[in-house]
Amino acid sequence: MGIENIALGFQIAFEPFNLFVAVVGLSLGIIIGVLPGLGGANGVAILLPLTFRMPPNSAIILLTSLYWGALFGGAITSVLFNIPGEPWSVATTFDGYPMARKGQGGAALTGAFTSSFVGAFFSTVLITLFAPLLADVALKFGPPEIFSIQFLTFSAFVGLGGGNPLKSLVSILLGFILAAVGLDIVTGQLRMTFGIAELMTGFDFIVAVIGLFGIGEILLSVEEGLSFKGVGTGMNLRVVLDTWKVLPRYWRTFIRGCFIGFWMGFKPGGATPASFMSYSFAKRFSKNPEKFGKGELEGVVAPETAAHAAGVAAMLPMITLGIPGSPTAAVMLGGLIIWGLQPGPMLFVEKPDFVWGLIASMYTGNIIGVLMVLAFVPFFAAILRIPFAILTPLIVVVCAIGSYAVHNNMIDVWYMLIFGVLGYVFKKLDYPLAPLVLALVLGDLAENALRQSLIMSQGSLTIFATRPIAGIITAVALFFFVLPVLTPWWRRLRGRPSRGGVTTHD
């Protein structure tokens, strides 16, 4: 199950059909990343029903390629239109857009794509090295350890998510409650259906993601008043080569961004804070921090490296532990279950071709991706010149098709609308959406792990404290849960004024 299987992985990734699938996924991903209102999680969710009949090896390559594409695409709108297509590209607008205004759009885009590639490549190498080791450890995990890790994932949202920790908690609980609706597979009883036949199948996470992130995002963006005022790309081979000559100067920023991104990324919701953190570090260590925000190439390099490193790192806990690090990874995890695969470390033993094909495709996908965006930027940027009155109904129709295709059921399209309104209200009131989606995907897995643990211990919760690994993880998780209470108290103790952190949710 070790790293020697990477050769097998590359064999799979280089199969002509899989390369074709990667290109399709990347193209769709870049388009989705460029369009405001459609993001990686949402795009993967819409495409998921179409993969039900594909071989899982190709299906996962399609979905991950779409994810890489969305990461690349977010940079295009940030630089050229000052519209962050994704939350983690907000920091890219700070210097990317001023550069484009000064006529250096080509340099800014080249810098952004190259940094994205470097960050992604770094994280992929680390995943290649660490995934088998982590999976090896995770194989020894029983239900108590699995539940405590899931507990840790959600505690990280509460403790490290920023914003109001209570609202993060409510999002998590709501996700779990929605996941519990319908048939209880353990006892065979119907839960919370109140005799309504439509509720028997429960709420599908795909529909929730499309509604919350797709429709909700459109409602938010029209409220802010959309206006696309694009700047020309100014992209050609000479600009690319000239920028590449300059970039090695920022090697420190690259390395810092890679490590920040990877470290933040494998924890939930990491890409956005990672990009901001990398940006502020670059500014602090720069010789001329006053140039930041006015069009400094380093200010594009820093957030893009970190965001992409984090985006790729989010895959690590998904393939090794069965815990997704981001909403997009959560949707993919749901996909694994639908394709009949058991997410988690057993994949490395039972489906080495799947896991290593996926890891190898991260290399090929990112290499093809960076070449595609460098070559076809003007084409992708042209998408935003489509008038708003055409784009909006088109996105809504695509979302409706995606929701319907999950179960061929009209009720899901109605749910999508309701989730859209919920997403709009929640986003405005600062309830984070990512933990809700994660809880909805992990609901059954977490509940089963909890029940099995309690059966093992005859109903005593001490099982989560007395088993060594579970005990340590639970302790860390409890620490995260009390962190929001401790932090202001700690600051007061050290005589520092308490300050509100940057609220960052993806």
Partner: protein, 153 residues
Amino acid sequence: MRAADLITAAVLMLLAGVVLFDAVRLGIGWGTDGPKSGFFPFWLATIMIATCAVIVLQALRRGSAAPFVTREQLAPVLKVLWPAAGMVAVTQFLGLYVASALYIGFYMRWVGRHSWLAVMALSLSIPLVTFLVFEKWLLVPLPKGPFEAWLGY
């Protein structure tokens, strides 16, 4: 913002109350084969009610007086929401292809004020392409109505 915060928390508490009610019916204790069906939902709902109660207190104490949404902001939002809801309602009866044609056409003309030529061209070609891609190529059946039945599908 405060009113919206309070209403949302109240609705969530109400929802948690409903869950609590059903969890008690299912049994929240220990069954013959481990925790009963209501065990997990019971605790979720209990923590939810407690958390929402604190959020209500927070909002009462230091909620901002800024409006949740201004009239100028709400108008464009509703302009997107109602046609979308209409499209879903029409899909229920006439199928997705007819509904999306009407929806795209209506939205382009009403919001975008595009020329009738552009409206006709796009509102007919987009559903047609959708049909070819999903029904023919990917073999994913989408909702159909009397019009498709008349055409023999």
